[in-house]
């Protein structure tokens, strides 16, 4: 069982790193790009005897308490077999 956790800055929080990446991408000649936001991606390997609901609960708690700072970030959890 694996949990995939995506952590992204809240839309209201400016992302200076994303802006710098956006600028570089434009320098490469890519057009029609409106915005780039940087985030973090985690893969958590969980014990195989967990049910999907248990795995989701565990990963949600890890995401909320450790991986994301809810003051500035949102997170999304996906469970894959």
């Amino acid at each position: 069982m694996k949990a995939k956790v995506y952590v992204t800055l809240k839309p209201s929080v400016l992302d200076p790193q994303g802006k710098a990446i956006h600028h570089s991408v434009e320098l490469l000649g890519f057009e029609q790009i409106q915005d780039i936001r940087q985030g973090k991606y985690f893969e958590i390997a969980l014990a195989s005897d967990l049910t999907e609901a248990q795995a989701k609960d565990a990963a949600e708690k890890i995401a909320k308490d450790v991986l994301a700072n809810p003051v500035i970030e949102d997170y999304r959890v996906e469970i894959v077999q």
Binding site: S12, V13, P16, V66, N69
Partner: protein
């Protein structure tokens, strides 16, 4: 009166803080390793600057799980003084002892220079020896000092006079040009509602020797010493 300087793996301003307290405040001070779980006997805990745990994940994110942080939270709840400087400020925000968060500087640079700070509130345990509106020169050294918070939090900070320091120019004007890192409303340091917990990005412990360019940091540590003395008297 006794100070403790908390040492995490990666602290690098711990000795500076220790030096200032022993030499310029003239009070007993110990280093406290982050595995410690008991802060009894101390009146103030300093969470110094550094790069705790290499700033992995987010600045201060992993340090908040150190055993000493449970003790620091209890210590703060008892009304004892907790002073977070730079990385220490980031930790106190991550640990929920102060509102908001510190993110990457708006210009993406690591900035290391002297800046001017305006004392916005001199009725705190950390500024009682300063004047309201006074301008002090204190260095910053950070890449993630850009203070952010939501509108509701900001309003509360203003209403309750929790904004203690703002970045300003030499004459004390709080301007966009004087804001080194993009911090909301030029915020350089804030305190909690009870005033016993403070966090600031600039390093007052690096501004206590004339040789280093400024003595303006001494007043902050002496203010804290005054506040402890007043608390002990009560």
């Amino acid at each position: 009166m006794k100070f403790g300087v908390i040492v995490f793996p990666g602290s690098n301003c711990d000795h500076d803080a220790y030096h200032v307290i022993s030499k310029h405040v003239g009070q007993p001070v110990d280093f406290i390793w982050h595995k410690e779980t008991d802060l009894r006997g101390y009146d103030a805990g300093i969470v110094p600057g550094g790069f705790y745990y290499g700033d992995y994940l987010r600045c201060g994110a992993l340090a908040k799980f150190s055993p000493v942080m449970t003790a620091v939270k209890e210590f703060a709840a008892e009304g004892k003084f907790v002073f977070g400087i730079c990385n220490g400020f980031q930790i106190l925000c991550e640990a929920g002892l102060l509102p908001g968060a510190l993110i990457r500087n708006a210009n993406l640079h690591f900035i290391c220079k002297h800046v001017y700070l305006k004392i916005e509130n001199n009725h705190t345990p950390y500024t009682n020896e300063t004047q309201a509106g006074e301008v002090i020169s204190i260095p910053i050294a950070h890449a993630e000092g850009n203070y952010v918070c939501d509108d509701e939090t900001f309003q509360k900070l203003e209403e309750n006079n929790q904004i203690v320091f703002r970045y300003c120019d030499e004459s004390g004007e709080v301007t966009a040009e004087a804001n080194p890192n993009g911090a909301r409303s030029n915020i350089a340091g804030i305190c909690n509602l009870d005033r016993n917990v403070i966090g600031m990005m600039p390093h007052p412990e690096r501004a206590c020797e004339g040789l280093l360019g400024s003595n303006d940091g001494r007043g902050i540590f002496r203010s804290l010493s005054n506040a402890i003395a007043a608390q002990v008297e009560r």
